[in-house]
């Protein structure tokens, strides 16, 4: 070994003499050799020579030649990375979000690109097409209508656009073979991106029409377009001809539904020939173009030029036609775009990848084609993305006003950096106010001010003059801005439940339910604009486009700061309304329904008053405009501060209705401006409301009986009154009351139903199965005192005395109050004497019921003493056996249970209550979301028995608190942040459903920042990495941690267990996919809350007449909510107490059955007035097994197979016996037990 080292040193000296070739390599090889050196040093250790070892670590030896190292060193497990590797790794971590982000991007990109191995047939086809087109014979010039008639005979309609040619036009259409045929668009540059929903890749072929066909004045009155249309029709006719040998289906397609931008679409017929490119899933589009050398002069096409000059009202006045001009310019652009993109790809290495990422992002958000709802205006926005990237890379054209403009970015950025820059440009640049003109080498032909004046939103790329935003309604531009902002937030934030990469690129975000606060389905077939401008319609090229664009603009104006975006959605191509049309059809067909989505701004969305200009304002134009916008809704009003102003006021009767204000605005505007009445505009808000409301008949009785003091507000007031009354008892009870805290969902706005009071007289007017009174839980906290006994059982007894004192005191001081001391829950759990179980039941004169408990913190210490591992004297070693024995002992088990209840009831519940109540105040939609989600959990038979109400609140809270930055802060939350959280309960509900269907609780828990942002380095290791072992029957599997509950088990200890949690996921998935059917109009809100019962082994049907809560049933039968059967039964009611707070025998039966048969079957029920329980047997019990004394289930001996067989004493589940027992336990309650399997 020593020899070896010496040799190495010699080699090293040699290498030192050589000049260093490459600095970088040297550094890296240094590192590398260091590693090898170390292992060499390890080897040398047994030689025992100190000096050698030291040298081994020295700098000198590090320079040794790698070849000299003995082979054993290469076996070392973690060799230092080579220079190349280091560079790659460093790049990945520095230039991307993280190194794994880069790897994920690398894995993603190949999946969205076409398979080049399938391209050869396409190439052959294109070659054939080229030859064929170049040989086409010319067609003599003829009158346009005559030419059209000739073609129509052959079955090809000429897609002439408005204004149509007439008989006395004096120009002619003709055809000559193309001057040039070029492959354009993303295909030749190899940046094609797979489209959504299996739509085809587009291969664009630009066919340049000869200059000779055109004249200088052809830009006028759509003459150019008519000539183009004829050219296209002729091409279509000849390609379709079987003699062409091309064997393709030919159809028309119009970009953005504009007939002026019609192109030919060739789809291959599968014939297996050499030119059959069916497998590539592509289609060839033929776009007629024109060269810049044509006689038409470009300067005539600036946005301010008026090029449609027919029948305008006033003589001699011509309105500018920016869109028309833009459409004409589009015919120049394909080749220019191709070249520009090619240059970018050549000069910027990451350009192609960035473009692909951007388009995946857009596709996933519906800014592209798709057979699901996509954002209107972006269907054919293929040019938008390169233009956007160009804007980011090259910067903006300096404006004449000298404003600060976007500066160019470097060319060496990574794909991710470019992608992020493009998004941030989208998010921050207001394309509507500031037209963006990409900086180009030559100056732009038309100044930005012209665009600003005549176009709504502008993005013009460097090479051409086309506005990429020309067809996009303004609201949809708001939407892409909003989406970009949202994505940036996701990329910046570090503590989200979902992986940012998945969220940004892999998830489909096109669903309307989670994206928009309010969704409308509008039937356009009867829509008629109140004011129609024929000129604008001509400029738009199609009446539908014009209508939609206008509708969007008016809605946007009317909604104003209520919204972030008003978006129109329509699938770009479905089987009913395909984007392509047969050649016989000259004009694109349009779908008559459109979806409107609103993203609300909750700070203003629900304002009842919209203030217009003051009545005495000078600006009469503004006044007229306001009146024109609002029509009959606009009224002159005098306000409290003395102002008199034109204004719009929305009438709202209940708190629920307030969230309908934006919908009211939309309905009014559509009615006033477009004549669309109620039945043409559909929303689902009221349907959601009815899910958490009492049946109408009962509700009116409550309103009559209790007046306005109902709902959460009423409950709060009742609570405040009670606090005052109890505090006034000072002196009558031995200790003074320090604090009364609430722990009830009725006092934090999250109970599924509005809390209602119930007085004796009101109860008498209600049917017996609607007389449920939900008690409100509160906690009393007394001052510290040494007078308490220092023993748990005695403490529980003393509590009784306190309750008795308060009860007597209250009944004396407040007439009409009824108070009684309740000893416990009335089942077997009462046997635990260490546990806090008694409470005080107070029914106020107004009919509110409260359940009050006493929190005495000495209990915790006493319980801990029993539970403590060490016992009172930690240094005394307790024999292990005895310790185990204690573990099994009744006292220990009781104490354990008691401590759990204590912690949950007195420590966690009040804290949770305060946090949730604060959240309800902060976010208006939070309470509604909780209520809907609770209703969902209840109606699918999970709530109560398996999923606690608190954990539902936590799950809902997580989509509101986000990373907890704004928790408990009084500062205004930025509007952008507010737009990410749902502003209506419908959206919140959909988001939770989506979350539940996707949540992988097996892989890690959830951290909810309910109490403020997550602290650095906390919880990551515990909640993030901890895996939950899927066990069949091991308590709850969900981990929902908060700052005060690091383990995340306080609210999920009792369930759901693995089986139930999987069931929740499956049902949420089903609900989620049902939510998607909003798109095809078969959606019914109540359907999501109807539980399928056929999966259960047996169903226990209850008698709805005896259930006090039946009124809460999701599908309560109004007929069953009638009066009792007999008139004299009612008379009997008068005498006895019929207000029984919290009396719910169905729930008691459920808990009894669940506890009694916990090892026999799993029971499910709807706590909100469900009239059936469902149960599933434990499948293992059906197998015969040896008899055990503590088997824990009701069994029957299995008969021997034959007389000879040995009697093994096997037993199996006695299912018939169990069902009989259930029927007996619930006699009077149970109508029938139906065995289903």
């Amino acid at each position: 070994m020593a020899l070896n080292l010496k040799r190495k040193r010699a080699g090293d000296l040699e290498s030192r003499k050589n000049p260093k070739l490459d600095e970088v390599m040297d550094v890296n090889s240094e590192n590398e050799e260091h590693g090898e050196n170390e292992s060499a040093h390890e080897d040398s250790e047994d030689s025992g020579s100190e000096g050698e070892e030291w040298n081994g670590l020295g700098k000198d030896v590090e320079m040794q030649d790698a070849r000299n190292v003995d082979p054993s060193s290469s076996k070392s497990k973690n060799p230092a990375p080579t220079g190349e590797e280091v560079r790659a790794i460093r790049d990945a971590t520095d230039l991307y979000r993280s190194s794994s982000f880069k790897l994920q991007i690398d894995a993603l990109l190949p999946n969205v690109r076409p398979k080049l191995s399938r391209a050869p047939p396409l190439e052959k086809f294109l070659l054939k097409l080229h030859t064929f087109l170049m040989q086409l014979p010319a067609v003599e010039p003829q009158h346009p209508l005559e030419a059209a008639r000739k073609l129509l005979k052959k079955g090809v309609a000429v897609p002439y656009c408005l204004p149509l040619p007439i008989e006395d036009t004096n120009w002619k259409v003709s055809f000559e073979k193309p001057e040039d045929i070029t492959l354009v668009g993303s295909w030749p540059n190899k940046v094609s991106v797979k489209a959504k929903d299996g739509l085809k890749y587009g291969v664009d072929v630009a066919v340049q029409m000869p200059d000779g066909l055109f004249q200088e004045k052809d830009y006028l009155n759509a003459r150019f377009f008519q000539k183009k249309a004829f050219y296209l029709a002729t091409l279509a006719n000849s390609i379709r001809n079987s003699k062409s040998g091309l064997n393709v289906d030919v159809s028309y397609e119009s970009t953005a539904g504009d007939p002026r931008l019609t192109k030919l679409v060739l789809t291959p017929k599968a014939d297996g020939s050499a030119t059959d490119f069916t497998k590539l899933n592509a289609r060839v589009c033929i776009i007629p173009t024109i060269s810049t050398s044509s006689p038409i002069s470009l300067h005539r096409l600036s946005p301010s030029h008026a090029n449609i000059r027919v029948n305008s009202g006033e003589e001699g006045v011509h309105h500018p036609s920016p869109l028309y001009n833009n459409a004409l310019l589009t015919s120049y652009s394909p080749k220019l775009h191709l070249l520009a993109m090619y240059n970018h790809i050549q000069s910027i290495p990451a350009y192609a990848d960035a473009l692909t990422l951007l388009r995946i992002w857009a596709n996933q958000r519906g800014f592209g084609e798709g057979s699901k709802l996509s954002v209107k205006g972006f269907e054919n926005a293929g040019n938008l993305w390169p233009a956007l990237l160009e804007l980011v890379i090259s910067g903006e054209e300096p404006s004449s006003s000298g404003a600060v403009n976007r500066k160019p970015l470097g060319k060496g950025l990574s794909s991710y950096q470019l992608f992020k820059a493009a998004l941030s440009c989208l998010a921050k640049h207001d394309f509507i106010k500031n037209p963006a003109l990409v900086k180009s080498t030559a100056t732009h032909k038309f100044p930005a001010s012209e665009y600003q004046e005549h176009c709504s939103a502008t993005l013009v790329d460097s090479s051409s003059l086309v506005n990429a935003f020309a067809y996009v309604p303004l609201g949809c531009i708001d939407m892409i801005r909003h989406e970009a902002w949202k994505t940036l937030q996701t990329l910046y934030s570090s503590s989200l439940a979902i992986d940012p990469f998945t969220d940004v690129f892999l998830h489909d975000h096109r669903d309307v339910a989670t994206r928009f606060d309010i969704v409308f389905q509008v039937d356009l077939s009867k829509a008629k604009a109140r004011k129609l401008s024929p000129h604008e319609s001509l400029d738009f090229g199609s009446a539908t486009n014009h209508l939609l664009y206008n509708m969007n603009a008016i809605l946007r104006k009317a909604l104003g700061d209520r919204i972030h975006a008003v978006v129109f959605l329509q699938p770009s191509s479905t089987s009913d309304v395909p984007s392509t049309r047969p050649l016989t059809q000259a004009y694109p067909s349009t779908s008559s329904t459109i979806f409107v989505g609103l993203v609300l701004n909750p700070t203003h969305a629900f304002n009842l008053v919209h203030l217009g200009p003051a009545a005495d304002s000078e600006d009469t134009a503004a006044l007229a405009e306001f009146q024109e916008l609002w029509g009959s809704k606009s009224e002159m009003r005098r306000f409290k501060d003395g102002r008199i102003a034109e204004s719009v006021v929305w009438d709202v009767k209940t708190a629920d209705e307030r969230s309908h204000v934006p919908a009211m605005v939309v309905r009014h505007i559509l009615q006033w401006h477009f004549g669309l009445s109620e039945e043409h505009v559909q929303t689902w808000q009221s349907a959601y409301d009815s899910v958490i409301r009492l049946p109408k008949e009962i509700a009116t009785k409550y309103v009559r009986g209790a007046g306005s003091a109902m709902g959460f507000k009423g409950a709060m007031q009742a609570f405040d009154r009670l606090v005052k009354q109890v505090k006034a008892l000072e002196g009558q009870i031995p200790l003074s009351l320090v604090n009364i805290s609430a722990t009830s969902e009725s006092l934090r706005y999250t109970s599924a139903f509005n809390p209602v009071p119930l007085t004796q007289s009101l109860a008498a007017s209600l049917p017996p199965n609607a007389r449920y009174l939900q008690p409100i839980n509160i906690v009393f906290e007394f001052e510290q005192s040494a007078k308490w006994p220092d023993e748990l059982k005695a403490i529980q007894k003393i509590k009784l005395a306190f309750f008795e004192g308060i009860a007597t005191g209250l009944m004396n001081s407040v007439p009409g109050t009824k108070a009684s001391v309740v000893l416990g829950s009335g089942d077997i759990t009462d046997a635990n004497e260490l546990m806090d179980k008694a409470y005080l039941e107070i029914v106020t004169p107004e009919g509110w019921a409260f359940h009050a408990r006493i929190w005495h913190n000495r209990e915790a210490t006493l319980l801990d003493r029993i539970l403590d591992d060490h016992g009172p004297m930690p240094h005394v070693v307790v024999p292990k056996k005895r310790k185990q024995a204690e573990r099994k002992g009744k006292e220990y088990l009781d104490a354990q249970e008691a401590k759990e209840v204590y912690d949950r009831r007195f420590i966690h519940a009040p804290r949770h209550h305060r946090a949730v109540a604060a959240l309800s105040h902060q976010y208006p939609a939070f309470s509604g979301t909780c209520r809907l989600v609770k209703r969902w959990f209840a109606s699918h038979w999970f709530l109560g028995g398996h999923v606690s109400e608190e954990v539902v609140e936590l799950l809902c809270a997580q989509i509101f608190v986000l990373d907890g930055k704004y928790v408990g802060s009084d500062a205004d939350i930025p509007e952008n942040t507010l737009s990410v959280v749902p502003s209506t309960k419908e959206r919140g509900f959909a988001m939770i459903m989506r979350f539940l269907s996707e949540w992988k609780w097996e892989e890690g828990g959830l951290y909810v920042c309910l109490y403020g942002p997550k602290k650095e380095g906390e919880g990551e290791g515990e909640t993030g990495a901890k895996k939950v072992e899927p066990k069949a029957s091991s308590g709850g599997v969900w981990t929902v941690a908060t700052e005060v509950d690091k383990d995340g088990k306080v609210w999920t200890k009792g369930g759901p267990d693995g089986i139930v949690a999987r069931r929740v996921r499956a049902l949420a998935g089903a609900t989620w996919s049902y939510l998607q059917t909003i798109e095809n109009g078969t959606f019914n809100v109540q359907g999501m809350f109807i539980h399928p019962t056929q999966d259960y082994d047996f169903v226990i049907q209850l008698n709805p007449f005896v259930l006090p809560r039946y009124v809460h049933n999701i599908a309560a039968n109004e007929g069953l909510l009638g009066k009792g059967k007999f008139a004299n039964a009612r008379a009997k009611d008068q005498d006895q107490d019929i207000v029984l707070p919290g009396f719910d025998p169905a729930k008691s039966l459920f808990t009894d059955l669940q506890r009694t048969y916990s090892d026999t079957f799993r029971l499910f029920a709807d706590p909100y007035g469900g009239d059936a329980f469902g149960a599933v047997w434990d499948p293992t019990l059906k197998e015969p097994r040896p008899f055990r004394v503590l088997g824990g289930f009701s069994s029957v001996p299995v008969k021997k197979e034959s007389e000879k067989a040995k009697d093994k004493g096997l037993v199996a589940l006695n299912d018939a016996g169990v069902l009989g027992e259930i029927e007996r336990l619930g006699s009077g309650l149970i109508k029938a037990v139906v065995k289903q399997r």
Partner: protein, 320 residues
Amino acid sequence: MAPSTSTTVVNGFTLLPVSHPSSSTHYIYARQHVAPKKAEASTSKKADLPAGRTLFLVNVPPDATERELVLLFKPCGTVEKAILDFDVQESQEDDDSDSEDEKEAEEDAMEDDAGPSSKRRKVVKQEVPKVVPLPKNPQRTIRKTGLTAYVIFLDASSLERVSSLASKTRQWPVSSEEPSGLAHYSTVYKNLRPPLDSIQEHVDTYMELFEYKLAKSKQKSKYKKGEAVVDEDGFTLVTRGGAYGKTLGGGVAVATKRFQRSGETSARVRTKKDKGEKEGFYAFQRAEKQRSELINLKRKWEEDKAKVEKLKQSRKFKPY
């Protein structure tokens, strides 16, 4: 479903079919109670479960009451008493713990456990206060299914007659005093809300008893104030209190709880002195550090790579 006109025996248990209600059959497993072999365990148990005339039952219906069991076994002979849900106490006594007096203490505790309602102490000492029970209508207790129970007959001969019950399915005697079903829940609801004055009385008497017991245990206790307690081996008893604990009589100090738990004397952790060697002082240290950083970098990279590769396998990267 109803088999057995003949007796079935499973693992030494006689099968007693009962129909309850008439439509379905429930099976109770019965066996003569055999006292556990462990000698000392039997001492305490013998009194409760006399061998020879105790019947051990398994799988009693979850809502069965003592009265119903008595009625069921009436044909075999007079039943002294029926005990339901014995298993908790049973498991407690499974341990083979040590001293006799502890046993006694435990027994005492057990009697206390039996609850105030059944409190009937032997009047050994002078006027022990009695707890007034809360008024209560009879109600059932619904226990876990697969319940065990003991039936103690007056006469040992009754046991033999039990097997004759097995010959045919018998009707379960339903006691009408304790309601079931909906009526049961109404009763429970009422029982839980006793009149306020009775609560007052109940708590007052309970506290009297509590005070009495407290005083009693104080009297019994060996510890007197101001006197150190030294046991026969010469150890002084020390309890917690003061800064370092105290002996009851004073004198010897005892360590704090913190010290006992952690072995540390105070909350202040003494800052350790710097290590003799400075970090990054020698070139090799720096090189070493740099190298290990790079290795870590690569390891993380490889890990990420593997993770992404795994996801790739599951086709996760197909966005649509």
